[in-house]
């Protein structure tokens, strides 16, 4: 199916008006091969979209489950399309402590099994692998 059509459908399904801003932000996530921060989104956008609007769009998408907050970077919230994340498994992210680059390790199949105390409910796992990327490794 056409990506643009898919995006329009996704937005309508979730009760969103189909606006240029929302369509393009969502399109960015479909094009991206890694989690995106608000800052990166602003830079990648072709149309002028206000900072506040981007935040509102990201919040709305997150609440609707269209994207996930990956929390990869201590300062920036980083978002991505939801993968197969669930209560007991989620593909991890890699973050380079040299350059701050983050990547999605989607083909990861491992699982944690965590026994929480009574009364606690696990909804989702987030795993971050920290280390060095090839170009920062040599320095």
């Amino acid at each position: 199916m056409d990506v643009l059509k898919k995006i329009t459908e996704l937005l309508k399904e979730n009760g969103f008006k189909v606006t240029k801003g929302r369509a393009e932000v969502l399109a960015l996530f479909f094009k991206a091969d890694r989690p995106l921060s608000q800052k990166e989104i602003m830079e990648m956008l072709r149309l002028d979209l206000d900072r506040a609007s981007v935040y509102r769009i990201l919040d709305a998408f997150t609440q609707a489950g269209l994207i996930h907050m990956a929390y990869v970077d201590g300062r920036h919230r980083v978002y991505e399309l939801p993968g197969k994340c669930g209560a007991h498994s989620c593909h991890p992210h890699f973050s380079c402590r040299g350059c701050g680059m983050t990547a999605c390790l989607e083909d990861f199949k491992g699982r944690y099994k965590v026994d929480l105390a009574d009364g606690f409910v696990a909804e989702r796992q987030k795993v971050l692998i920290e280390g060095l990327c090839p170009s920062c490794k040599g320095k």
Copy 2:
């Protein structure tokens, strides 16, 4: 051994001058049963310590390896004493999406094994379990 003595030793071992601020911040981590944010540290401190100083102390401790940055909350950096975290295992943290409370699941023994692409080096794993705590569960 006395905690205060241990703290003094730890600071000296790492080449730090033993100041009231550093000693008390480090003591907070020994007393705490969960990861702490800069904000929480400010609120828990008895003596008046400047915001900038707390940040500098946390940075210095992190660099020296006395504490770890746990990155649990999207907005706040959250720190804790280093556990048995390594390239392929780390005790996970639990974070309640209702009240934002975070906890350390120290007795966790599981492991991820992640195959990174050539040239990438994994130094540490951070795992976050998101869900609801008992008191937020009912709401």
